[in-house]
């Protein structure tokens, strides 16, 4: 369908260019559609609050690290993937990449980090057409205006418009003549009843 898939808003809190590019490369390989917000010091971290995900390099956290990491968790509501080291307070986070991680570990951890999002999408696909929508569709196909439909079915014009919008999204058909062909194909209306 037309609808663009939801872009992932990701804050990259990594100062080192090589590391940052590496992460972006892996994300690209995974085929994720990401909008990046780059920040390079802790002062800027608060700006990243709007994003859903943050990949955070431990180097960027000032000392005392444990305290500052806890603070971060309090004000940042999205998911965090920490690129840390074993001696750090990594237990604060569910998602941590260690220096000892091998290629496959790293890729799996990044994939897992974004996995919730991937599962979500197909669930939204409730594309069955309701009885009410079929009723609206019939009238649109017969050539009635929004106002006429609203009057006939005793509903508001806004409701008619909402139903039409949903119909167009579900069927992927936008024009009135396209909807008419659909209705005729599915025997929802009789060709002789269509208004010229």
């Amino acid at each position: 369908m037309y609808k663009k898939s939801h872009k992932i808003e990701l804050t990259l809190a990594i100062e080192h260019y090589l590391l940052r590019s590496g992460i972006q490369f892996i994300i690209k390989q995974l085929g994720l559609d990401v909008n990046y917000h780059h920040i390079s010091n802790t002062e800027d971290i608060k700006k990243g609050i709007e994003s859903d995900f943050m990949i955070l390099h431990h180097k960027i956290i000032p000392k005392p690290k444990a305290l500052n990491l806890k603070k971060l968790q309090e004000f940042y509501r999205g998911k965090v993937l920490l690129i840390g080291n074993e001696t750090m307070h990594a237990e604060l986070f569910d998602n941590v990449i260690y220096p000892s991680d091998k290629e496959l570990d790293i890729i799996q951890k990044i994939e897992h980090f974004f996995s919730e999002l991937k599962i979500k999408e197909p669930e939204e696909n409730n594309e069955a057409i309701s009885t009410r929508e079929i009723e609206i569709l019939k009238h649109v196909a017969l050539g009635y205006s929004n106002k006429e439909i609203a009057d006939k079915l005793f509903i508001s014009i806004n409701t008619v418009i909402t139903h039409r919008k949903n119909l167009t999204e579900k069927l992927g058909i936008k024009t009135i003549s396209g909807l008419t062909v659909y209705a005729l194909m599915n025997n929802l209306i009789d060709a002789n009843d269509v208004k010229p």
Partner: protein, 247 residues
């Protein structure tokens, strides 16, 4: 000259191998197949085609983001309009008859149970076709001559009151909404076939029809892009100059 994916010293045959969708484009420039190993530059010289303009057109077709360079805007409107007109001829004289032939063939080979659905699709195409042809003819009757008038007025500095009247009539605003309506209709036609047409006897013909509709869509998108991103801005620019001078 900056590096282009398709460049002057490339053999035209290689460009076609790179992107076969360029075939109708070179036809519009009057280039026929059988050009051997000649480069694009050699062929353009031979046929008296403006080389830079040719490269801009094929590259913009080859790469949809290409127009960002705005280089096409440096060409005379006459050149652009002449290209657009030859594109119209291609739609009207080649593409549409081709689609109609496929549709007729499709209809003739329908089983009785499919006949009514297939007729619906054919009629929907007819409706789309008429709107498309009307739009193209309308442009040729109004927008294109208007463009020449503007260019003429700008060159001669003679501006008639009738032209000022036309400028105030904002002809160009209709362009975008017309393109949008036509695109929606073509998209619906494709979707009706892909999603909702019950299985037919001759899927091979139906597939051919769909592929041709996709190609037409791509070609029309490119055509609209040239009109909206090259022609219309240029017209608006000329209108402003002429209005400023006539005050």
């Amino acid at each position: 000259m900056k590096h282009l994916p398709i460049y002057a010293n490339m053999k035209l045959a290689d460009a076609i191998h790179l992107n076969y969708l360029l075939l109708p484009i070179i036809g519009r420039f009057g280039i026929e197949l059988g050009f051997g190993n000649k480069t694009i530059k050699e062929i353009c010289d031979e046929k008296e085609i403006n080389l830079s303009f040719f490269l801009e057109i094929v590259n913009s077709y080859h790469n949809k983001d290409y127009f960002a360079s705005e280089e096409l805007q440096n060409y005379s409107l006459t050149l652009v309009v002449r290209y657009l007109i030859s594109t119209h001829h291609y739609y009207i004289d080649v593409k549409i008859p081709e689609l109609e032939e496929i549709l007729n063939h499709f209809l003739e080979n329908s089983s009785n149970e499919n006949k009514s659905n297939n007729t619906l699709i054919t009629n929907f195409f007819e409706e789309y076709k008429n709107e498309l042809i009307n739009h193209l003819k309308q442009e040729e009757r109004t927008l294109f001559p208007y463009t020449f008038e503007l260019e003429e007025a700008n060159n001669t500095k003679i501006v008639s009151p009738a032209l000022i009247n036309k400028i105030n009539n904002t002809l160009v605003e209709k362009e975008h909404s017309d393109h949008h309506d036509l695109e929606e209709k073509l998209f619906d036609l494709k979707n009706l076939i892909i999603k909702f047409l019950p299985p037919v006897k001759r899927k091979d013909i139906l597939e051919k029809l769909l592929i041709e509709l996709f190609r037409l869509e791509e070609d029309l998108e490119d055509h609209s892009r040239i009109e909206e991103q090259v022609l219309v801005p240029k017209i608006i620019q000329l209108e402003k100059i002429i209005i400023a001078q006539s005050v």
